[in-house]
Structures are given as structure tokens and as C-alpha cells.
């Protein structure tokens, strides 16, 4: 997989996106192949939306939400895990590898964590 392979990063509005903004504010770079998409809460995603990213050519889909137990809506983390499990199963049947889809979290405002997690995810895709 080349470094330019497109990666979709779904961020929740409260932690993931706040991490992205902080990274931008601090001028921390991450690869231009990353397409961040903000959703209100990762619990609002569905396996259809996640698979659609693959349909449109994403090489990987990363979900970045709130730290465990700190979901802005309390149950969104849990819901996101359920959605991820379903999407994983379907993506697996379709032949996508496990490392191509991941759920992770960052603290609100932690730009460095955002960049690190995105870079690690891409490295994982490339088998590094």
C-alpha cells in the first residue's frame, strides 16, 4: 500500500475533532492522504457509512472518538463499538484486512495524540 492511499478518519465532534483542530493550531503535520470527516458522535455512524468509505476507495478507515467513559453523550462509545463490530464482520467477509478498520480515541485538545494515532494507523496499513 503506498503512502498516498486514501485514509478516512471519522472524528467525533468533541474529542477527535478537537484533537484535529489542536493539531492544526500547533501546525503538526499529518499526511495529505487523510480525509477527516466530522460526525457529532461516533455512535451516530453505521456500518453502511463505514463501508461506503471503502467503496469510495479508502484504504483504511479510522474512527477517533472520546476516551473510554468520557463520551459527551455517555453511551456513544459503546454504540460505536457495536457499529465497529458489525462493520468489521462485513468488511472481513468482503476481504478487507483487520488493520484497515480501527476504533481509537484521543483526549479533547490533544493534537499530538491525534497526529500520532493517525500516523500509526497509516503505518499499520503499510505493514510497518
Amino acid at each position: 500500500m503506498n503512502d498516498r492511499a486514501r485514509v478516512v478518519v471519522f472524528t467525533c465532534n468533541w474529542s477527535g475533532y478537537s484533537g484535529l483542530e489542536a493539531a492544526g493550531g500547533a501546525r503538526l503535520g499529518f499526511p495529505a492522504s487523510v480525509f477527516p470527516l466530522r460526525v457529532t458522535c461516533l455512535g451516530r455512524l453505521s456500518s453502511g457509512v463505514i463501508l461506503k468509505a471503502f467503496e469510495k476507495g479508502a484504504a483504511g478507515v479510522l474512527l477517533l472518538g472520546c476516551p473510554p467513559g468520557e463520551c459527551h453523550y455517555q453511551f456513544g462509545n459503546h454504540r460505536a463499538e457495536e457499529v465497529l463490530a458489525e462493520a468489521r464482520q462485513l468488511a472481513g467477509l468482503l476481504g478487507y484486512r483487520r488493520e484497515q478498520l480501527k476504533l481509537d480515541w484521543v483526549d479533547a485538545g490533544d493534537g499530538e495524540a491525534f497526529v500520532t494515532k493517525v500516523r500509526d494507523f497509516i503505518a499499520g496499513l503499510n505493514g510497518k
Binding site: S46, S47, G48, V49, L51, K52, F54, E55, E86, Q89, L90, G92, L93, L94, G95, Y96
Partner: protein, 391 residues
């Protein structure tokens, strides 16, 4: 929609007599309360030359293409096929119905059609199930592994239906072929007007089917059966294989009569849901009933049965909503009213839709009836060894 008149001609829409028989039985007409809609009215809009009104009619995308109306039409109007073809025109213009389940089912269909994935879909063939690479029979699994992932949580039998099918075939000494990269058959794409995806899927399947060298295709999905049997040859490419729904396959003399079935003394009382695609689309009504009789199941028919059967309320994973739910509830009440303990069907989608309606906590008690696929019922009643060949 300039080509609407030609689609009307192909499907005998001009022959409508305005009798209204179709509207009297259409489940959408009965339950769509937001705006009056009926097949007759939609036909009238088309005949009077108002394509935009045809497109805006709620029935345009919500018609189940269940063929209940055409069963009664004295003039032979192919209403379902008319909408199928008109929907393809609408999709070309960028319009489509509302997809249920966040469009995930349509998405996996498109990935299978265009992304050339390396599917990993045979994980369920385990234990004592036997398949081969050279059998004369090919078992076409359909989307069961995918539905299993999506609908197990509502109690859908999912991949157990495929396991049961292999068990039955093995019992008969058949070790069927199963395609490692089988694609969705394209049924839903065809009937909701996504012609491009349908064709791509059909071509990919036809290539593999032809390369398999099999002579017969057996499937447990009525939609796959219809599509492979009628639509592939008509629309995409001919193939020499004979296509059977498993119940039809077993109804053949010398095959199903070799099944050694354990008829139980205390078998449940059952009623049977004719899937639209198996019944009205393919004309298979007796084969599943014969099998239930052979299992010693006491069968009580619902009031509307066979050709008059009521559809399970949703088609092509589109436009699911209050109308679908009302149809499902109506049908489950009818099933319950027979006094049967189990509603048997032969289509995984019927099962999914009814189980979904049953999951409503407010209706759980009222609509509680066991729902089973005939395939799994059969498989769990297989005895040891087949019966001797009839002499």
C-alpha cells in the same frame, strides 16, 4: 422519463381497463395513509402522460413488486415489471428510493460488483459439512453470510440455513460446489433500478458459474433462484444450468423421496408464508408444502395463501417504514390466528422482516410465534442414511 411509453408498451400498461382489482389487494394501498396511492392510479398517471406524477407517486419506490396485483389483473398488465423498468430510468436520472439499514446492503453489492474484493465468505463450511470442486450441483449461497452478520441480533437463522442446505445435500450423497467468490445475485439492484450494478454482478457470477462445470444450481433463496433462472438469461447472458430453489430440487422424483426424515409424533403445528419470489414469481407452491407434510407437520393455511399470499412487507431494502411495519404486523396476526406454533417460510428475507416486526417490545406478546426456514426444519429431522432407492 422520455422512454416511459416504451416501457409501458413492453409491460402492457396501455391495456389497463381501470377496473381497480389491483388496488383492492395491494398492501401498500391499504397501509399508505399519508397520500392515496394505488397501482391503478399510478397506471392512470402513466397512461395520461404525466411522467413526473408517476415518479412522485409514493408507490413508485415503495411497491413491493410482489405481483399480488398482476395475479388478479384481467388485462395482463405487468405492473411490477413496469415499475422495475421505470425505476431504472429514474435511477439514470439520479433518483432512487430510500435505502434502509444505512444503505449497507446496497454498498456491499456495489463493492462486490466494482471493487473486485477477495471475499472471505466460506468460513461457515466447517465440521462435518462436505463440499467439492467437481460436483454436478452448485449450491448458490446468496448473501446469507452477510445477513448473518447483520441480523443475527434479531434472531435470524442466517448462515444456519446454508449449513442446513449442505447437510441435506450431503445426506443425499451430493457434495456440492460452493463458489469462493460468489457475488450478490443482483436481484435487489435489478428491481430497484440499479441496472449497472445488476449487470456487473450478473456477469461476475455467470463467469464463475460457467467455469464450475456444474449442471444444476440449487439455492435456498427464492430471489437468487428467480434471478439466476429468469433474469440472467433474459438480460445478461444465457447459461445451460438448471436452477432450483432447494424445495423444488427436493420435489423431483428420485431425489427428495430418498430423504430419510424423522416425522415426530409431537411435531409443531405450522403455517406457511409463501415468499413472493418463490410463489407468484416462480410458481412454486406445492414443493414446500409436500416437504412439510412429509415431516408430519400439521399445517394450517392462513386465509390468504398461495397465489393470494401477503408479502412480508419490504423489498430490496428500500422504503422500509410504517407501511412495511403495518403489513408485517397484519401478516403476523394472520399467522397467529391460525393457532399454529410456528410460521415456516422458505426465504431468509421473510424471516428477517417478520422477526424485525416481532422485536417491537409493545407487540412481542401479541405477535409471538416461532419463525423458521423450512431448510433448517428439514435438516434437523434427517435420519441416518438415505432411504433405499424406490424399486
Amino acid at each position: 422519463m422520455e422512454r416511459l411509453p416504451s416501457v409501458m408498451s413492453q409491460n402492457r400498461v396501455w391495456y389497463c381497463l381501470d377496473c381497480g382489482k389491483c388496488s383492492a389487494v395491494c398492501p401498500i394501498t391499504r397501509w399508505e395513509t399519508r397520500q392515496y396511492t394505488s397501482p391503478r392510479l399510478l397506471v392512470e398517471k402513466a397512461v395520461q402522460g404525466h411522467p413526473d406524477e408517476v415518479l412522485d407517486d409514493p408507490l413508485f419506490w415503495s411497491c413491493l413488486t410482489c405481483k399480488r396485483c398482476s395475479e388478479l389483473c384481467p388485462s395482463g398488465v405487468y405492473f411490477s415489471e413496469f415499475l422495475r423498468d421505470a425505476r431504472a430510468m429514474a435511477q439514470e436520472k439520479g433518483q432512487k428510493g430510500e435505502c434502509s439499514h444505512s444503505e449497507v446492503i446496497q454498498v456491499w453489492g456495489r463493492i462486490m460488483a466494482h471493487a473486485n474484493p477477495a471475499q472471505d465468505r466460506l468460513g461457515w463450511i466447517d465440521g462435518d459439512l462436505r463440499v467439492s470442486h467437481d460436483s454436478d450441483v452448485l449450491y448458490f449461497v446468496g448473501c446469507l453470510p452477510y445477513y448473518d452478520a447483520l441480523f443475527k441480533k434479531i434472531g435470524c437463522e442466517g448462515i444456519e440455513i446454508a449449513r442446513a442446505a449442505i447437510r441435506i445435500l450431503n445426506h443425499l450423497g451430493i457434495e456440492p460446489q460452493v463458489l469462493a467468490d460468489e457475488r450478490c445475485c443482483g436481484h435487489d439492484q435489478l428491481w430497484e433500478g440499479d441496472w449497472e450494478t445488476f449487470q456487473a454482478l450478473a456477469r461476475l457470477n455467470l463467469e464463475q458459474i460457467q467455469a464450475s462445470g456444474a449442471q444444476q444450481i440449487v439455492t435456498t433463496c427464492p430471489e437468487c433462484a428467480r434471478t439466476l433462472k429468469l433474469d440472467y438469461p433474459r438480460l445478461v447472458g444465457g447459461h445451460p444450468l438448471r436452477v432450483f430453489h432447494l424445495t423444488e430440487f427436493l420435489a423431483q422424483p428420485g431425489i427428495g423421496d430418498r430423504l430419510n426424515l424423522k416425522a415426530e409424533d409431537m411435531s409443531p403445528t405450522v403455517t406457511y408464508q409463501d415468499p413472493c419470489r418463490l410463489g407468484r414469481h416462480l410458481g412454486v407452491y406445492d414443493a414446500p408444502r409436500q416437504l412439510m407434510d412429509r415431516l408430519g407437520l400439521h399445517r394450517i393455511e392462513m386465509g390468504r395463501t398461495g397465489k393470494a399470499s401477503l408479502c412480508c412487507g419490504t423489498s430490496c431494502w428500500t422504503q422500509c417504514g410504517q407501511v412495511s411495519k403495518n403489513i408485517q404486523v397484519e401478516r403476523l396476526r394472520e399467522a397467529k390466528a391460525t393457532g399454529a406454533e410456528c410460521l415456516v417460510t422458505a426465504c431468509v428475507k421473510c424471516q428477517i422482516h417478520f422477526k424485525c416486526a416481532q422485536s417491537d417490545p409493545a407487540l412481542r406478546e401479541e405477535l409471538g410465534i416461532d419463525i423458521r426456514d423450512l431448510t433448517t426444519l428439514l435438516a434437523e429431522r434427517l435420519g441416518d442414511g438415505t432411504k433405499a432407492e424406490p424399486s
